[in-house]
Amino acid sequence: MENYQDLPLDLFEKAEVNLDEKEHIAKPSLTAFQDGWIRLKKNKAAVVSLFILILIFLFAVFGPIFSSYDYAKTDYHHTFQLPSREHIFGTDQFGRDQFARIWYGTRISLLIAFAAACLDIFVGVTYGAVSALAGGKVDAVMQRIIEILVGIPSLIIIILLMMVMPAGIGTIIIAMSITGWVNMARLVRAQILKLKSQEFVLAARILGTNSRKIILKHLIPNTMGVIVINTMFTIPSAIFTEAFLSFIGIGLSEPRASLGVLINNGYQVLHNFPHLLIYPAIVIVLIMVCFSILGDGLRDALDPRMRK
C-alpha cells in the first residue's frame, strides 16, 4: 500500500465536473463492417487466406499477360517438358505452356464460380425474402418447392442439363445455379423471419415506416452478414463442382482450360509427368482451403452475437 498521508491538502477540494463527460463515449466511432474488419484482421489464418486469394486472383487476371505463350498455342517440338526457365510449369502433351494454361484455367474457374455465386445471391435472396415476407400459404408452397428440389440429387440434375444443353461456360453456370440457390434461400428466409419479430422492426412499423423501407433499411442490411458468409462457401463448392464435371468429361472442352480440365489432362499422364497434375491441383486446393478459412473468419468477425 502506498502512503497517502502526505497528499497535498488541495487535492481534497471539489473536482471540476463536466456533466457532459458522464455520457462521453471514448471509443472511436466504428461501423459494423469496420468493426468486423478489425476482428478479421486479428484472425491470422483468415488474413493469410485473403492474401493468397488476392494473389491467385491477380495471377488469374494478369498471369497470362506476363507469359509470352498463348494458352491454346500448340508446339509439337516441345511436348511434355519439365518445368524450366522457358516454361516455368512445363508443357503438356501438345506442347502448350502450362503456366499460361493454369492461370487461364484459374480465370475460367473463378469466373464460373463468381457467376454462379451471383446467380445464387440473386435468386436465393429474392426467393428467401419473398417467402419470409409473404408468409402464410405462399411461404408454405415456396418451402415445399425447395424441399422437392433438395430431394433430387443436384448432381443428377446438373449432369442431365449438361447433356441437353450445348457445352460451354454459360451452360455450366446455369446448371449449377439451378439447385445452388436453395441453401441461400433457406438461410435468408430464416434470417428475415427472425428479424421480422425483432423489436427494431416492430418499432419501424409502429412509426409508420412503409414496407419497402423496412425491407431496404432494416431487413436487407441485417441479412448481409449471412449472405456474405454463405457466398464464401458457395464459391469454392462451385469451383469444385466445375472441376468435377470437367474431370468426368462433361465440362469444358479443349482447347479451353479450367482447373478441372487441367487436372483431367494431368491425371492421364500422372505416372510419367506428375507436374502436370500437381500444379493445377495445388491451385485448386489453395482456393478451396483459403475460401473456407476466410468464410469461417468472416462468420466470427461479422456475427453480432460476438459483439458486446
Binding site: Y4, L11, F12
Partner: protein, 335 residues
Amino acid sequence: MGKILQVENLHVEIKTELGRIQAVRGVSFDLDKKETVAIVGESGSGKTITVKSVMQLLPSTGSITEGSVRLEGKELTTLSEKEMLKIRGSDISMIFQDPMTSLNPTMTIGNQIIEVLKNHRKDLSRDEMKRRAIEIIDLVGISNPETRFKQYPHQLSGGMRQRIIIAIALACDPKVLIADEPTTALDVTIQAQILDLMKELQEKINTSIIIITHNLGVVANIADRVYVMYGGKIVENGSVEDIFYHPQHPYTKGLLAAVPKLHEKTDKLFTILGTPPDLTDPPKGCPFAARCSYTLKVCRQYPPSFTPFGNHHESACWLHDPRAKRMINEVRNAG
C-alpha cells in the same frame, strides 16, 4: 476463526479483442460458517467473475493474475483442474441464473442428480444413490419425488427447474453454495418461494451461501452481510443492517436511493448519472469518481483505502478522510 472461505486481493483479467478487461481489481472477502453473504453490483462490476474465479470456472480467456482463494485454509488457485473437479460439486457448488439452460434437456432429473453423486460419493451403491436423489428432490419441496425422478426438464416449470438445480447443487452437502442471480429469471411469487427454500435448506444442511444479485430486495431478504462492488472493486461492506440503514459510500447510498420504496411516497427517484467505467482502461483513482456527486480532486488520482466504521463495516471513499472536511460539510447540508 471459523472462516470457511477467504479471498484475498484477487485480480482477474479477461482477454478480449478490444483489450484486456481488468474485471476484478483487488477484491477481498470472507465467508463464515452458515453465513449468507451477498455481493451486490451492476452488470460489469465484476461480481460474477469474482465467484467464477473462486470456483476456478473462468472462461479460457480469463486468468487470475494475483491473489488467493482459500477454502478452509486450502489454496484453490494453485490446484490442478483434476483436483478442482473433486472440490466443485462436493465442497463448493454453484447455481446459475437461467433455469432453462442449466439442466441437460436429454437426461431425466433423477439421472442428473445421480451423475453428481457418482462423481463425489463413490461409496454409495446405485440403489442408495437413487434413494438419495429422491430424498433431495423431496427436500427442495417438490411433491411426488418418485414421479419427478423419471421426468425430463421440459416437463417442469421454471420455478421447479430452479428447485432441481438447487437440489443438484446441494446433492453432496457442500460447505459453500454460490448462487449467481438465482431468482432473476423468475417471477416475483416464484422468487419468494426460492428464497424461502434457500434459507430453509441452509438451516438443514449448514451450508454457507454467497449470493450474487443486483436486486436489493433479495439482499435484504436473505443476506447476513453485504459486499458492494463497483468497477471491479469492493467499495463498501458490512452487515446487512449497516449497509441498508447506515450506508457510508456514495455509491451504496445512491443505489439505495434509486430504488422506489413501496411504503413511502417519493416524487423523484435519486439517479446516478452516467455509466459504469470501461474496465479495459480502468480509472486510476476511485472507480466511482466519474459518476459521484461529491468528487474530489484526489478521487481521480488515488484509489481510496477502506475506512472502518466499527463492527466489520468499512467503506472505501476519500470523503471519510478528515482532510475532506469542506466536502463532508457540504454532504451533510445536502442531507
